[in-house]
């Protein structure tokens, strides 16, 4: 069973529907015991980092996540989940979980896009990813595949080894990060059509190999 962590951070039904579509049993839950019993954990999230961390702490789920990640259980962060696993977020100046060294930075209106015009923020829409390392998450994913992003902040891991793929939008940022048994995508793989579902399948069903570090 896959546990999808429910901490009042946005709509989790999309993630659950996509996992169910793959034929994988899952539960949207905030119950610590169910999360501990799950084979793998998905940590989604939409909204602001400050409110998300507050909810996690209030529900005691910050400890559960840190313990489960330390115990070696495969964890997939999505969108806000990809930022909150870092040490700090510039959004609301928030201290985060610190599962991966680094911080979430804000896109700046002074950044310009490929056309030389000021960036639209949030980064909203479909964009490519450029893998920096091999990872089972990327099985079956091609260089022309695109993924759906919606975010105003981006992950910036401290260690280059934790960057699994990058994407360009004003800056080149880490769009997939990983550390040992933890992986996280800044994009919504549950809303990225076929390649997104493939990547979700790779996490839920694929052979699990820890990112070497």
């Amino acid at each position: 069973m896959i546990a999808i962590i429910d901490y009042n951070a946005g709509n989790l039904t999309s993630v659950a529907r996509a996992v169910a579509h793959l034929g994988v049993e899952c539960a949207v839950t905030h119950d610590a015991d169910r999360i501990r019993r799950a084979e793998r954990i998905i940590f989604p999230g939409v909204g602001a980092a400050g409110a998300a961390m507050e909810s996690l702490r209030r529900m005691g789920l910050d400890r559960v996540l840190v313990d489960q990640a330390a115990a070696g259980k495969p964890v997939l962060g999505i969108c806000l989940g990809c930022q909150v696993i870092l040490g700090h977020s510039e959004e609301n100046d928030t201290a985060c979980l610190g599962l991966v060294a680094g911080r979430a930075r804000a896109f700046s209106a002074s950044m310009t896009g490929a056309d030389g015009r000021p960036l639209k923020i949030p980064h909203m829409g479909w964009n490519r990813i450029h893998p920096r390392r091999q990872h089972p998450l990327f099985a079956g994913i091609g260089p022309r595949d695109e993924f759906y992003f919606v975010h105003g902040f981006f992950p910036q891991p401290e260690r280059a080894a934790d960057v699994l793929a990058v994407t360009e939008y004003g800056v080149e940022f880490a769009s997939v990060i990983g550390y040992r048994n933890l992986v996280a995508t800044q994009f919504h793989l549950e809303k990225s059509g076929r390649p997104g579902l493939r990547m979700l399948h790779n996490f839920c069903r694929g052979p699990w190999v820890e990112t070497t570090c």
């Binding site: 579509h21 960036l119 949030p122």
Partner: protein, 259 residues
């Protein structure tokens, strides 16, 4: 590089997709869930649903459509049409939509934008704007006025000022519909689209007037749009999303080509 999005728009009435010159003489053209599946398979980047049901049962009918769409397609979609309260927004989002769009209700009570953004995040809140060219006046310096009720009611509000205010209130995106161009198939209102898009920092979807592939090209270049809404040209088989993308890619416009 971020791709320009092509977004089919489905007007839904009593659970059926309908199309005419908008709000007048509509005819049923199919099941919205099946049409959404087809566009998803053809490479649509997102789908927009407008609920134009007039009856009191509209909510339950539309929510059922939204739930079935969410089980069928795995790309983002938004729902608009008569949404004016946080509870209505919540119901649509929980049923599986990524975004809700507010239009007339936001003109009447702009704080719904801020309340929606606080409750669900800016990325969920799309401001739908219907705009008419009126020529510059002291009250409408841009020469473009916001209209509501499908273009029948003038508001006296300047379109650019309204767009900037909605952005400040927390709208995450603007769907900009030209009443003058809507239904003409003569092309998007490029001056309006460029005016709004160049002055806001959030993405702008061009809407109204698409009839030929080159209209989308113009919306993305001259009009500076981030996304373009299409309806008749794909609903009636004149062209497909894939053909539009192939054309745009040939023009050097970044579009998603693998799905």
């Amino acid at each position: 590089m971020l791709s320009k999005r092509i977004i089919p728009c489905l007007d839904v009435r009593d659970g059926k997709t309908t199309k005419g010159v908008r709000f007048e003489g509509n005819v049923d053209i199919g099941d919205p869930v099946e049409m959404a599946r087809r566009y998803y398979e053809q490479g649509a980047d997102e789908i927009v649903f407008y609920d134009i049901t007039a009856s009191h049962e509209r909510r339950s009918i539309m929510l059922d459509v939204v739930r079935r769409v969410a089980e069928t397609i795995f790309i983002p979609f938004s729902v608009g049409g008569g949404i004016g309260t946080i509870e209505q927004m919540r119901a649509v989002l929980l049923a599986g939509a990524e975004k809700v769009s507010v239009n007339s209700a936001a003109v009447r009570a702009p704080e719904i934008i801020a309340r929606g953004a606080d409750a669900f995040g800016s990325q969920c809140i799309v401001l739908g704007m219907d705009v008419k060219r009126v020529g510059p006046t002291p009250g409408v310096p841009s020469g473009y006025e916001v209209v509501i009720n499908g273009g029948r009611t003038a508001t006296g509000m300047d379109a650019l000022q309204w767009a900037l205010r909605a952005q400040a209130l927390g709208a995450g995106e603007i769907c900009l519909n030209s009443i003058d161009a809507d239904g003409t198939r003569q092309g998007y209102e490029l001056t309006l689209t460029a005016l709004i898009s160049a002055n806001v920092t959030i993405p702008v979807i061009a809407s109204g007037g698409a009839g030929e592939p080159q209209h989308l090209r113009a919306a993305f270049t001259e009009g500076r749009a981030d996304a373009a809404l299409v309806a008749s040209m794909v609903h009636f088989g004149t062209t497909t999303i894939a053909e539009l993308k192939s054309y745009l890619s040939g023009c050097g416009i970044p579009v998603r080509q693998s799905w």
